[in-house]
């Protein structure tokens, strides 16, 4: 006669030991912020956005988008408590809108993170080339340095992640300190002798028409990419109900303050009416120029390490996505296998190959790296994340619409519905004004090609999802399980045995 053990005892020795081994709020927050690489956004994205879009409402956009994402996060973290594989957008979308839509979302996510990762080489190359020429007397084309970074990331991507996690942490701390110092220095020396608050005004969000907000929001979302990663640690968190939500909101708040503050300081230092021209002239120097001497040199060096760290972080995000999809057999199973050191080598190498192809293509074609590679691909990656945020918000409403899971109306309906409306509105505005976002003419094909690429992979994903449902129902049934795919396989096997 067997006795089944069903209910965990409270506060037992095992529970206490497991809790001690799990992650608290600081660890989850650190994990989220380490992947954000703030100097990449502050020195790279913000000046390029001022220059390319010609819009000055970027500081206000960071605050507005932080508020929208805070509303989004209400339903997002609530759903985290009720699904497995809660670290991936496509898992939310699979659970809320169905597995076929989930496959489409998975491919959109892969493309988005891939754009974000590869685009970073476009800022690293010119930045490293300028630094090497100025300080080392080495003169080489941007793509030589980009290929150097690519090679290092290709190797590090195949090593154990704990090596890179420690490095990312040191860089993050240094970056935030430098940004703070630069911003304070800029505010101490305002243009015209007085500090203006115009760029923080909500009115600046629609200064060139209502559609302007869509453009600014995409830029701002690009800065927040990484905040969505907190639920990745839901199953490793000490108290998933408290740790993940608090870490998410703290991350949103900290990112908003740092980015809005830094972009505002740049506008104050250069002057609101001159900040666009200054950004076009100075590029990342718009930030470095806020301080002087050692601070500027440190910031320039950290800008490179930040770009590198961000590229590595996104490289790891991409292979994790590929690995999860490979484990589910949604993508080729080879992507879901690990090498000798627990790292999925095939998935990592595929992303490295993508980076190599893009860098070579830009080098051969002679395209401009900072705007056409870094900013175009970066903002397009941010746009993809925006699409996923909107889909996820809708998925949250659909998920809780079927069963409340004990969540209140604010968490399961009001907040996610409001977020879905706002995020969908931003997506539409961004598509309609994509040419402004990229800084090209309305008739330029890239203004529709980039957003259309998501429509294309989305359609491919929908088709693939339908095919899986018809031809490979066992794979279809495991879509969205991620790490739990192994037990999903088991259930299928048990089903076959029982039949």
């Amino acid at each position: 006669m067997s006795r089944t053990q069903s209910q965990p005892t409270r506060q037992s020795h095992v529970s206490r030991a497991l809790a001690a081994d799990r992650l608290g709020i600081p660890a989850v927050l650190f994990f989220v912020l380490a992947g954000v690489a703030p100097l990449t956004v502050v020195a790279g994205v913000i000046p390029t956005a001022y220059q390319t879009t010609g819009l000055t409402g970027i500081p206000a956009a960071f605050i507005a988008v932080a508020l929208i994402l805070a509303i989004f996060a209400v339903g997002y973290v609530a759903m985290t408590r009720h699904i497995t594989n809660s670290g991936a957008f496509y898992a939310f979308i699979s659970n809320g809108l169905g597995r076929i839509t989930g496959v489409a979302a998975a491919l959109i996510a892969l493309l988005s993170y891939s754009f974000l990762q590869v685009g970073l080489y476009g800022a690293f190359g010119p930045g490293a080339a300028a630094e090497a020429a100025a300080h080392l007397g080495l003169h080489a084309a941007w793509w030589v340095w980009a290929l150097g970074a690519w090679a290092l990331i290709a190797v590090l991507g195949l090593l154990r992640v704990d090596i890179t996690g420690w490095v990312l942490g040191v860089l993050l701390t240094a970056e935030i300190l430098v940004i703070f110092a630069e911003a304070v220095s800029g505010l101490v020396h305002p243009s015209g002798g007085h500090i203006g608050f115009g760029t923080l005004s909500p009115a600046d969000l629609t200064s060139a028409g209502f559609g302007t907000f869509g453009v600014l929001a995409v830029v701002a979302v690009l800065g927040f990419v990484g905040f969505e990663q907190a639920p990745v640690l839901a199953e490793e968190a000490r108290n998933a109900r408290r740790t993940v939500p608090l870490a998410t909101y703290l991350a949103l708040g900290m990112i908003a303050v740092v980015y809005a503050g830094a972009s505002w300081a740049m506008a104050v230092h250069a002057g609101q009416s001159r900040v666009v021209a200054a950004a076009a002239q100075q590029g990342p120097g718009l930030l470095f120029g806020l301080g002087g001497g050692l601070l500027s040199s440190t910031a320039q060096f950290l800008f490179l390490t930040s770009l590198f760290a961000a590229a590595l972080a996104f490289h790891n995000v991409v292979w994790r996505y590929m690995y999860a999809l490979g484990r589910e057999n949604v993508l080729p199973a080879a992507l879901g296998r690990t090498g000798g050191n627990n790292i999925p080598k095939t998935a990592s190498l595929v992303q490295s190959a993508t980076g190599l192809v893009v860098i070579c293509a830009y080098a051969i074609a002679g395209w401009q790296p900072m705007t056409q590679l870094f900013f175009w691909l970066g903002t397009t990656g941010g746009f993809g994340i925006l699409v996923l945020l909107a889909l996820t918000a809708i998925a949250v409403v659909a998920f809780f619409g079927r069963y409340s899971h004990g969540e209140g109306a604010w968490c399961r309906l009001v907040a996610p519905a409001l977020a879905a409306i706002l995020l969908t509105l931003i997506v539409v505005l961004a598509v309609l004004n994509y040419s402004t976002l990229l800084g090209v003419g309305r008739s330029d094909p890239v203004a529709w090609e980039f957003p259309a690429s998501y429509a294309a992979v989305g359609l491919i994903g929908l088709g693939w999802g339908v095919l899986l449902r018809v031809k490979r129902p066992h794979v279809y049934s495991m879509i969205g399980l991620g790490a739990h795919a192994a037990t999903g396989h088991l259930a299928r096997t048990a089903g076959e045995v029982s039949r």
Partner: protein
Amino acid sequence: MARLTGTGLVADDLYLMAHHEVTGRPYLHHRAVGVGLAGALLAELVLAGNIRIRAERIAVAGRAAPPDELARTVLGLVLSERHLVPDWLAFLARSAERDVAQRLERQDYLTLAGSRRPWRADRWVPTDADCAFAPLFRAQAALDPAKPVTVAGATLAGLAAACGLGPRLLPFGPKGARRCLDETVRQLAPDLRELIALTQAATDRLLLSQRF
């Protein structure tokens, strides 16, 4: 003196497979080794008829104490508190590598070698490289349909692949070894199949949540 036949315990064999036969260096991240060994320690109890596993829960199947001290300790733990298997895997993984190494040390399969560098921890190294390599051959039978495989051998191979030792094990099999291993695992008792799947899921979860 250590023997080529091994101790007959799955966790001992898995430990030796997960570490270099001469230097004792681990092939995997220590968390992955821990999860694999935690699964192996529970597998020993399943194989000995002490526990059964159903729907992530542990059921007590027999109270006869296993002869091995570590197995007795683990059985005592799972009898003393009620938790799901993933929680037991996480709990046992914390100390499994050290616990199994000490058991192997008592059997003369390992010896603790002091590091020449003061900032490095001491490391267990195999006393006999052939004995340390032998578990690979015991698991190898699970990769070849032409070879007879024991339940312990199939469990060992399944757990090895689940914690990330597939690239170390599969090259020793013939073409189609991966498919053969999957098929061999499918033939195991439901308890062991579930334990292997849960070990794989625990490893994947650690990987996807960046714990290694």
